[in-house]
Amino acid sequence: MPEMTYREAVAKALTDELASDPDVIFFGEDVAEAGGVFKVTPGLYERFGPDRVRDTPISEQAIIGTALGAAITGLRPVAELMFADFVPVALDQLANQVAKYRYMSGGQFVVPLTVRAAQGGGNGFGTQHSQCAESWLMNFPGIKVVSPSTPVDMYGLLRGAIRENNPVFVLEHKGLYNMKGEVPDDTAPMKLGESKVMREGTDVTVVASQLMMHRSLEAAEQLAREDISCEVIDVRSFVPLDKATILHSLAKTNHLVVVEEAPHQAGWGGDIASLAADEGVYWLAAPVKRVNMGAALIAYSPPLEDEVLPNVGRIMRAVKSVLTDA
């Protein structure tokens, strides 16, 4: 089975979709001739040419608006926003246009549009280049949101997103670009809306995504040595949310910890907690615990950034606390 990095999985998914459908086009800032600021997309311009792989001006509103206009007139665009922190720069186009275009026209359009952006902290990029965007985007019905955590999911979900006849935001975690994993040759485009149980367990359900999901797996590994069994769920798809997988796990473990790389207020972990309260309250043996950034912002200095992002120790403490809270 071929092994590749998360970064290579993005490139392969884009290549395969550009090759299989002439309506797919790809554009963003410095993505074509330079191959992207994270060197995710080298070679696409050379292979598919300047009509289909384009560098744009530094114009986030125009990038998203143009992608929308192209999507409703017969193309299947993939737009890159470079850093997810630039989502607010294009927020009108995303929140008021992309999300609502089909709806407010009474269903006259399909919007087969994919937006990619690199997100996440841990690399010293500072306050404006380290944020995660799921919670921002989840408040706009009409957009789907996926956050792959492994190379195989990156490949399959990005292809699935491009084939989807709805706007999909694909969030790539910067801290995972170098991560290696197996991507079987026959990996098909994946269906959106499904979470994955990454580690089975019986005592506590830990719901997380991307970097936090990998840290949760590490925490689970260490806790296993103390005879605490965690079931780790990778969210993968924030919209639509796979409630069944989470509830199914909760019914088994009776304990829930949510680990978010995001501020507490209006963070997506609140939705998971409310899901547990609404539909799983009789399974809960203890209050739900959310591990996240609290009310703090990401700072540049190493000890400050280390402190704000949930780490393995904090996740372990949260797991233990829900077990003793009971």
Partner: protein, 323 residues
């Protein structure tokens, strides 16, 4: 030089302008009678911009416009019934009642949507132009906006991108002198919006927005240029809105006598006079045209009143495409 349209197309342009005028007068009545909710933005006085542009477009061309867009929708061929149905939030409306006055959309005539966010429609039209360019359809994309919108970022991003990509796009500014309640000279440091084309290395043309054939002439030329792969143009139509900005605004902020001056150059009168001078129309025929338009508007309103509202389940339809 202003191109004279052939007689049938002049008749069509005149008919559409009269229909639009009467439809919008009726819309205001319905708004005051609470049959139309929220808000309305009338384009009374702007009709020549819409019909002049529509006359220069061909099947497959795409258009985005603003909340002040009833005239565009009708000029492009939206039916009066679909429009009135939408105004009243009825299931048979152009957007099944989900859009309302500010979101008239009809994909079947190339109208990709009227937008309620100032300037947002410009980048969207660039996407339609990109499709035309990549698929080599020979089509163009037209986007309408007000002079006030030329101060928002999306305007500048769209013009810049259109120019570097040489998109087959036309930016058509309806300069009606006011953005809401502010006269444009207070908010805009240039005399003419057309000069803003210079920064983006595209032609900026000024045209009399009250003269449908003058509008047709410049839009046709700019459209031919765009279709030939020579890139976008900015066209500034000097026009005037006779009514207030929206709802019940009576426009107390405008200069005394200003409206009267503009009324002397009414777009319907200008085309009518030209047709009479060319022996293509007489007062009797004009009166008949007006009467037919009145009947069409009344028919649409009465029809729309009879239509059912959408069922509440429709609320959850079309958030996503299913399938």
């Amino acid at each position: 030089m202003i191109t004279s349209l052939p007689i049938e197309r002049r008749q069509q342009a005149l008919r559409l302008m009269i229909e639009t005028r009467l439809a919008e007068e009726k819309i205001q009545e319905l708004f005051l009678a609470n049959l139309i909710r929220g808000t309305t933005h009338l384009a009374i006085g702007h009709e020549a911009v819409a019909v002049g542009t529509a006359a220069a477009l061909i099947t497959g061309d795409k258009v985005t416009c603003t909340y002040r867009g009833h005239h565009h929708a009708l000029a492009l061929g939206m039916s009066l019934r679909a429009m009135m149905g939408e105004m009243m939030g009825k299931e048979a409306g152009a957007c099944k009642g989900k859009g309302g006055s500010m979101h008239m959309t009809d994909a079947s005539i190339g109208l990709l949507g009227a937008n309620a966010i100032v300037g947002a429609q410009l980048p969207i039209a660039m996407g339609a132009a990109l499709t035309a360019q990549v698929k080599k359809t020979g089509g163009i994309a037209v986007t309408f906006f007000g002079e006030g919108a030329s101060n928002i970022g999306a305007f500048h991003e769209a013009l810049n991108m259109a120019s570097v990509w040489k998109l087959p796009a036309l930016f058509i500014c309806e300069n009606n002198l006011y953005g809401e309640y502010s006269v444009w000279s207070k908010t805009t440091p240039v005399q003419d919006i057309a000069v803003r084309g210079t920064s983006y290395a595209m032609p900026g043309v000024i045209v009399d927005g009250q003269d449908a054939e003058a509008v047709y002439t410049v839009v046709k030329a700019a459209g031919d240029r765009a279709r030939a792969g020579e890139g976008p143009s900015l066209i500034e139509c000097k026009t005037y809105r006779y009514r207030g900005h929206s709802r019940t605004d009576t426009a107390p902020y405008r200069k005394q006598g200003e409206l009267d001056e503009w009324l002397k150059r009414d777009p319907i009168d200008i085309l009518k006079a030209r047709m009479i001078a060319d022996s293509q129309l007489d007062e009797v025929e004009f009166a008949e045209m007006r009467q037919a338009a009145e009947m069409a508007v009344v028919d649409a309103v009465e029809w729309a009143k009879q239509q059912p509202y959408p069922p509440v389940e429709a609320l959850y339809a079309d958030v996503y495409y299913e399938g």
